[in-house]
């Protein structure tokens, strides 16, 4: 009963392989909204037979339900982005039993077989931010880290790498970790309080520009701390995501850097590998033709896409996804 109803788009585009089911993780975040927008565009480019996408609204239980529905509607390959990597194990197991390959985007499931993980290295984000801030601050001073939610693996990866790097490379720097639950209001309150307590904070690391950028700028502005990098009072800010607003802020000198998490490449390679899976292709660890490396995981492969650090020097690079959206 699963092969009923061939999709008209498949016939039109002459796609091969099989139907690809895709679940989006949430509809309320700028990064993911960009990703979601890239998907149909990339699907046309790659001639992928994409089913109606579902959205699990940041709820792993919904992700499981959506996956089941897509599979019963005939999906041969699944693309998903489980925001919670522990609770997806049995679903991956079931998909494996049904011989349905899975491509995960952005997160690496702890358990259960995956065909390919498409993500940038979140630990690298943390390290890059740490190195940038460490150098700018000359290895001493105070830094506030606006973290995401404790339950997010990407947030934890960034936090751990940042913490480790600070400890080993810049022991002179004090880090204040603020768990914001991805909530702009909480971030603003915590940053404001921390700045009151420590007016000599010289650096800020934000885990998510989409959530943290506006409140941070607003707090700094209110405290008259939003000054040019040349000014001695300047607070160095490193963000993460690479949304256009961050680039704008870099150009204005309000923040100093961001890690561009490539929404376009996430979309492109998620579908690229999904199509390859449908066609039965296999991949091996090693460098790829698109400036990335595939590494071996215990439960599959991971293509670690490049996530460049964007600063005033390269902010106008047209290849950055943030410069392509309008």
């Amino acid at each position: 009963s699963t092969e009923s109803g061939s999709s008209p788009s498949a016939a039109a585009s002459g796609a091969t392989g099989g139907k690809i089911g895709i679940d989006h993780p949430r509809a309320d975040s700028d990064f993911w909204n960009s990703y979601i927008k890239y998907i149909p565009q990339m699907a046309t480019e790659l001639k992928v037979d994409l089913m109606n996408s579902t959205n699990s609204q940041n709820d792993v239980a919904k992700l499981v339900a959506n996956t089941q529905a897509l599979v019963s509607q005939g999906a041969k390959v699944m693309v998903m982005a489980p925001q919670d990597t522990g609770a997806i194990a049995s679903t991956l197991q079931q998909l494996e039993n049904k011989k349905i390959p899975v491509v995960t985007v952005d997160t690496r499931p702890d358990k259960g077989k995956v065909y390919m993980v498409v993500r940038a290295d979140n630990r690298a984000y943390g390290t890059k931010a740490c190195e940038f801030l460490g150098e700018k601050l000359g290895g001493k001073g105070k830094v506030v880290e606006l973290m995401g939610a404790l339950s997010s693996v990407n947030g934890r990866d960034r936090a751990e790498a940042f913490r480790e790097c600070m400890k080993t490379k810049f022991p002179g720097i004090t880090v204040f970790e603020e768990p914001t639950e991805w909530d702009g209001g909480k971030a603003a309150s915590m940053l404001q309080t921390r700045l009151e307590q420590n007016p000599d904070v010289k650096g800020i690391y934000m885990h998510a520009g989409g959530v943290h950028l506006a409140p941070t700028l607003q707090v700094l502005k209110a405290k008259n701390m939003l000054v040019a990098p040349e000014d001695a009072k300047h607070v160095f800010v490193v963000s993460n995501d690479g949304i256009p607003q961050e680039f704008e802020a870099i150009r204005k000198g309000e923040i100093d850097a961001t890690v561009s998490q490539p929404a376009d490449l996430y979309a492109k390679y998620a579908l690229y590998y999904a199509k390859a899976a449908a066609e039965g292709k296999t991949f091996k660890p090693g460098p790829t033709d698109h400036d990335s490396t595939i590494i071996q995981l215990p439960n599959g492969l991971e293509d670690q896409l490049p996530a460049p650090l964007v600063t005033k020097e390269n902010v106008d690079d047209p290849n950055l996804w943030g410069n392509q959206v309008k």
Partner: protein, 332 residues
């Protein structure tokens, strides 16, 4: 309500006649809605009516259904419990911390321990509400934060996925071709329906929710029954946590978070009143099914994520109005 009252005697007060008949069918209010959803679903996607898909819907709803069952019991007894949603995540998580996956024979203790934790939370809620005479809404609102806080604190916010087998079993096993979770939820609902319909202790919930003083005068040990209901509610939430854990294969720090809204929506559109003493377990079950079917149809239809919540909310609002109009009486 009262599954029992059949109008038979010709002496029935004329005014009471039609109203009686309506109330009797009140817990069937949502049945036409369910039929409608089944028809709509069949048109939306041919997959919808396949046994596989319907089984999936039931399995997906089974954990939520247990929490709705718990909340329905508590609501019928005239109380309130918001903290159930936190118990769904916290009870299995703490169990895993107490009994790690590698603990061998101890693993068999996982389920009883998990249920005990849930029961303990319910007992503490009951203690604060009954002995301290605090408002149930407020106590359990605070407890919702406290219990989830404990979960976050003890796990450090991390997902747990090295779980004892026994904790995974119920949520993932298949019995006689159906997921065990469906059997479990089905049996517990049946027990609930029968107990509340045909047993003294079950009927006493209606008496307590309807008029606690009168129940007390009739010799019902109101405090004891209410406390027991809170304890059972906590244990059911913990069981829901076990089913969810098995289904997902891991426990995230967010397990259960936000469920309480759906739980209330399901119970209330199913005809359980917020004022106590009204509604049936069967009605609550139809509420759960409506919610599950709506979700499934929206998914099959591929409604874009950003519009899904709106469609969902509007459907709940409409179901509410239908159950209001069909139910007859004003709510308060």
């Amino acid at each position: 309500m009262t599954t029992s009252t059949t109008p038979s005697a010709p002496t029935a007060v004329s005014a009471a006649g039609p109203r009686l008949r309506l109330t009797r069918f009140r817990d069937l209010t949502l049945v036409p809605v369910i039929v409608l959803l089944l028809v709509v679903g069949a048109f939306v996607d041919p997959v919808f009516l396949t046994p596989g898909n319907l089984t999936n819907v039931l399995q997906q709803q089974s954990a939520l259904a247990l929490v709705v069952l718990a909340e329905a019991l508590i609501l019928i007894a005239g109380k309130f419990d918001l903290s159930l949603e936190s118990t769904v995540g916290m009870a299995p998580a703490i169990t895993v911390l107490l009994i790690p996956a590698a603990s061998g024979g101890m693993g068999l203790l996982a389920i009883p321990i998990c249920l005990l934790i849930g029961a303990a939370i319910g007992a503490f809620n009951g203690f604060l509400i009954l002995k301290f005479q605090l408002s149930a809404f407020v106590v359990t609102l605070a407890m919702l934060i406290v219990v989830h806080g404990l979960h976050l604190g003890l796990t450090g916010g991390k997902s747990l996925f090295e779980l004892p087998e026994s904790l995974l079993y119920l949520g993932s096993a298949t019995w006689l071709g159906l997921p065990a979770a469906i059997w479990i939820a089905g049996v517990l609902f049946a027990v609930g329906i029968v107990t509340l319909g045909y047993f003294r202790v079950g009927r006493s919930l209606y008496a307590i929710g309807g008029n606690a003083d009168a129940a007390r005068a009739a010799g019902i040990r109101v405090e004891r029954v209410v406390w027991t209901v809170f304890i059972i509610g906590g244990a059911l939430a913990a069981l829901a946590g076990i089913l969810e854990t098995g289904r997902l294969g891991g426990i995230s720090a967010n397990q259960g978070v936000g469920w309480i809204f759906m739980v209330f929506a399901a119970a209330v559109i199913g005809g359980v009143s917020m004022d106590g003493g009204k509604g049936t377990i069967f009605g609550a079950l139809t509420g759960v099914l409506v919610i599950g079917l709506v979700e499934n149809i929206l998914t099959l239809k591929g409604v874009p994520g950003e519009w899904k919540q709106l469609v969902y909310g509007v459907i709940i609002l409409v179901a509410l109005m239908i159950s209001r109009v069909a139910g007859g009486k004003a709510q308060d």
